[in-house]
Symmetry: C2
Subunit: 124 residues, 2 copies
Amino acid sequence: MHKSRLGTVIIDCQTDDLEREARFWGAALGGRVPTGEASGRYLDITGDAADPHVILQKVEHPSWIHIDIETDDIDAEVRRLEGLGAILVEKMERWTIMEAPSKHRFCIIGVCRDGFDEKANLWE
Amino acid sequence: MHKSRLGTVIIDCQTDDLEREARFWGAALGGRVPTGEASGRYLDITGDAADPHVILQKVEHPSWIHIDIETDDIDAEVRRLEGLGAILVEKMERWTIMEAPSKHRFCIIGVCRDGFDEKANLWE
């Protein structure tokens, strides 16, 4: 048995100034706007801790948005989703990239937001 | 004064079978999978009512994901976001399409999910 649910909304930005994009999205969504981390690839503008996290990621590919599914067992969740028709694209150290039948790419990550134990979906 | 927050995650699908895509995403995210609405343009696979809704939309443009901001005052929210640097793309009857400085398009919609009054961000 394991659990999973929608964990994160990743705003992938092809940009030369991730901090500028984060200022907008942080203000738009009522999230915090971290500073001093602009050299990094990620900026977390999460607002309400109970909501899915919203993270900006600096990317080389065109800008888009993707989602992460958080789970307490990445391998089991990948197998479950393969059974539903998703394809494993790449297994990274801390997450796994998959592709849905609809061709959207998404990631499977560890538990990241509050309330997981009580609220996540249980898969037997 | 008005309020707003992240309201919906829209999985835009360029597909000939929206119901098939909804079966996957509903099973993946633990949401309900509505049937008998496949002639429509939208399928709501929302799981936990307190989370942002997840809706599949049949589109002609390439598949991607966009977000909606829910608000109790669309006009005021559009003005607020214009002040932050977003551009008004098109005003529809029930929602307004905007474009962020990061070039992501998103929509401003009415209140759609549980807990809005208590949890949404208040803008003075």
